[in-house]
Each structure stands twice: as C-alpha cells, then as structure tokens.
C-alpha cells in the first residue's frame, strides 16, 4: 500500500466493540467526551500533532480495542460515497441539525 500525501490521523470508534469503559475520555478529554450514556463522542477533524502521543495512549489503553487511530481517509461521513450500499442503509446522509 503506497501512501502519497500522508493523510492526517483521525480517531474512530468501533461502536460495536465499545463498551463505554471510558478510558479514552480520561486520557484524552481534549478530543473525547462522554455522551449522556457514557459512550465516547469524538471531536471531528484530524488529530493535532501535539495530541498524537496522548491519542496513541488512549488507543492502546482501550480494554476492548474499540478506539482506532487511522490515516486512511475512510470517510466517517459524507465526502466520497463508499461501498456502504445495501437495502437498509442509505449513505451517511441525514445531517444532525441537533448541533
């Protein structure tokens, strides 16, 4: 796999694996905050360089290995439509005007 322009690091959660242990929120409150049920909310956007070390620590500390630090531009939301297609799943579309 060749990486050309080095896409920025991003934090992702595997929501199936996540059991809301909360380690990541302890270790990286700058980017990860709990939702009302104790599951992690990740700040959108790339991980700033100065937080990379802490991000790695949070990833390594997750008891269920649910926190991922990725560089591949695997779109969590809109930009490029992906192979998500199927009967019951529209592309990540509906916006949350809740913000």
């Amino acid at each position: 796999m060749s990486r050309r322009p080095e896409p920025p690091h991003e934090l992702k959660v595997n929501p199936i694996a996540c059991q809301s242990h909360g380690m990541c929120m302890e270790l990286l409150p700058e980017l990860i905050t709990p939702d009302p049920w104790g599951y992690p909310l990740i700040a959108p956007g790339p991980v700033p360089d100065e937080l990379l070390g802490l991000a790695r620590r949070a990833v390594n500390s997750c008891p269920t290995l649910a926190l991922l630090l990725t560089r591949s531009p695997e779109p969590a939301s809109e930009p490029t439509p992906d192979v998500a297609a199927d009967a019951s799943s529209p592309p990540a579309r509906p916006a949350g005007p809740g913000a």
Binding site: P15, P36, V83, A87, S88, S89, R93, G96, G98, A99
Partner: protein
Amino acid sequence: MTVTDAPRIVTSRLGYEDSYTLERYLATGGYEGLRKALGMRPDEVAAEVDAVSLLGRGGAGFPAGRKMRIVAEAGRRAGPFHSQVGTTVIANAAESELTSGKDKLLLSRVPHLVLDGVVLAAEAVGATRAFVCTHDDPGPLNEAIVSRERAGLNRVPIQVVTVPAGYVSGQETALISLLNGDGPRPAFVPPRPAERGVRRHPTLVQNVETLANIALIARHGPDWFREAGVADAPGTALVTVTGTVARPGVYEVPLGTTIGTVIDQAGGHTETPQAVLAGGYFGGWLTLPAAGDVILTDRALRAAGGAFGPGVLVALPESACPLAETALVTGYLASQSAGQCGPCLNGLPALAEALGLLAFGWAGQDGLYWTRQLLGLVSGRGACHLPDGTAGLASSALTTFAGEVRRHLQHGPCHRVHRAPVVPVPAPPVPAPPAEAEAAAGQGGPGATA
C-alpha cells in the same frame, strides 16, 4: 399489490400468468442477454453497467458498476489461494420495510430475470457461488433455480437463504454475518464486504432490482437502457406507492417522472393530500402540492429533502398528524436496533420517546431542544445506518412540519393523532406463545401485557 402497464422493462413479463416459469422466460427471449454477456469479457459487463451509471436500487444508491469493479479487483488482488475459492455474489431481496414491495414482486413473478443478473454478476466478479437472501417464503424461486440447473443455465451454484425477520437483518454486513454463521447483525466497516465478506473473501451484494437491470443492460445494451429515464438517471425503477392513494402497489416508472404523475398512476389521492414520504423509513417528508413537481431521481429527491431510497412513496393526507406518523415509525426503528452499538441502543429509544412526547403529549421547549440534541447524538454513531436514517427522518419531520411542531408545543396533541396510522409499520413483536406467556404471567413479569 398491483402493477400497471407502464413501460414494463423490468416487469414486461408480468402480464403472463406463468411469468415465473423458465419456459415463459425463454419464450420471451430471456436467455439471450445471458448468452450474449457470457461471450463478453468479464469486465465488459461492469463497463456496460457503468456506462449507464446504474445506481443500486436497495436504498443507498451506490453505483452498481463501480461496486462490481471493486469486488472483481479485490478478488484479483487476493492471491492464489483466493483464486481457487473465488468471490461470492449475494442477491439481496431482504426488504424489511412494509412500505416497499418490489423485491417480493420481482422474486415471485420474474425470478429468472433476477437469476440471470446473479449469473452475470457472478461472471463479472469471478464468483464461484451465489446466494439469494429473502425474508419471505421464496415461493417459485427454488423451483426456478432447479429448472435452470437442469437446463444448465447456472454457471455457479445459487442457494436461497431465508433471513430472519428484523429491520437491520437485510443490511449487507448483516447478511454476510448470517452467511458466515453468526446472527444477522450488522458489522463494523471497514473491512467492507467488497473486501472481506462471505468466508472472508470479497463479496458483491446487490439488490435484486439492480441485478434484474444488469441482466437487461447485458441483453439490450446501454443505448436501449438509456431510452427510458433522464440523462443523469437512465432506466426505469420500481416504485412502491402506499398511503392514501386509490390503487396502492408497485409501479414501474421511468426515472425522472414527477411524484405527481406516479401518484396519479396509483389512482390519485383518496383524501386531501398533505405530504409525501419519499424514500421510506430512511427518507424524508415533502409537502404537497409542491412536491408533486419533484422528479424521481436520487439527486432531485435529495435536493428536495427526501430520498429515493428503495423507491418508496407514501401519501399522507391532511387528516393525519405527520408528527404522530414520524413518532410511530421512529418507535419501530428504535425497536429494531440490534443492540450492538451504545449510541443506537440508548439513543433511538430516547429519540422515539422524545418524538412521542412531542406528538402525543406536552413536550415543551425543553422537549424540542432535547429531541434536536438527540438527533446529533445518534447520527453517524452506529456500525450500520440505522441511527442515521432514523435521525434523518425525525429531522426531516421537525424541519418540514415546523409549524405543526409549534402548534403541538402550544396546544398539545392535535385531534389528528387519533387517526389510524397511514405509514405502514410492522406490528410489534408477536407475544410469547401461550405456555411461555403463562409462565411470564406467573412470575408477574410485564411480558403478559406486552
């Protein structure tokens, strides 16, 4: 469900009583496309499908040709062991929405067209096996497969798989999980099925209507396919029209037809119309009469605030409360969470409750604020798109019916909430059989009244 005599491309054989038999299929020129396509190089089929920019008809609208190329490419990349195992094709007919009936119709009436598509897709991606996944009794499907095997028309073994009931069990990763021996539960992506699917090998999942269209494109060519529809969305689509229309059913219409025309085709409104739900449970509300001029293409519907989805239109009359309808659908979707992802498991019931309070009770400004918060808290936070789709529908209702929301906040539930629901939603789960129900009652559990 009825079908009109509209353009009849996918459904051209429905006029025949025995449209599901191989004899009728062959007599109406059925096998030609297959024979022609099997003479082509595998990537030519995908190229033809690409040339007409056929979008998947399962709801997500992903380009079908591109998906085929991704799977074929992943199969080539996978190495020597893989080349003996081969890729897999899954024909997805596990439609879980009561608002949609097209997959059922295709499988029961023209299974051979779908199976031709399966064989062609298998050829295009180098598959060695195929599955047809459906929720219902496969009906004439098994018979169709056997008669094709006898006639030597199946290049790969095709197997029918009955998918357990459930809204998310028709999701593509859920089908893969089911075929791999787990429950029909969505999985976290990546890896996507195109990379790692059935038995960890690349797998192509296509809706049955998409496959039927692939068979037709192979047979008649891209130019013929483009004769129907509009430039950015060629071809026809099966649209299920329900709600307060005179003749609810599945209609084949050229893409680019206006919503108004389709509703007229379904016999027109039976009550004063208020809005239309475009795209089904994961779609959005469009107010009538303005929405009557919106054309049926993925792009136009999204721009208007709806979706094409699996080709679903539900007409909502003036006499129904849109907030109540949305709350009921949301409640059903919340009940369908596989319970794997925390934000979905906790957030969807909370969202359903908040919308229920908004529609049927006194929510207050706080309630509305909390509802909006919840939309943001569930969107994009599940492994599958159940939370996104549910939030999308709820958000569409809050935006489209802002006036209605205000009235409910000021005056409480309107009198229309008592009307029987218009948007069809599956009934709550069947109560436990008598023996178990008694046991539950004996323990004083809530199961007896559920």
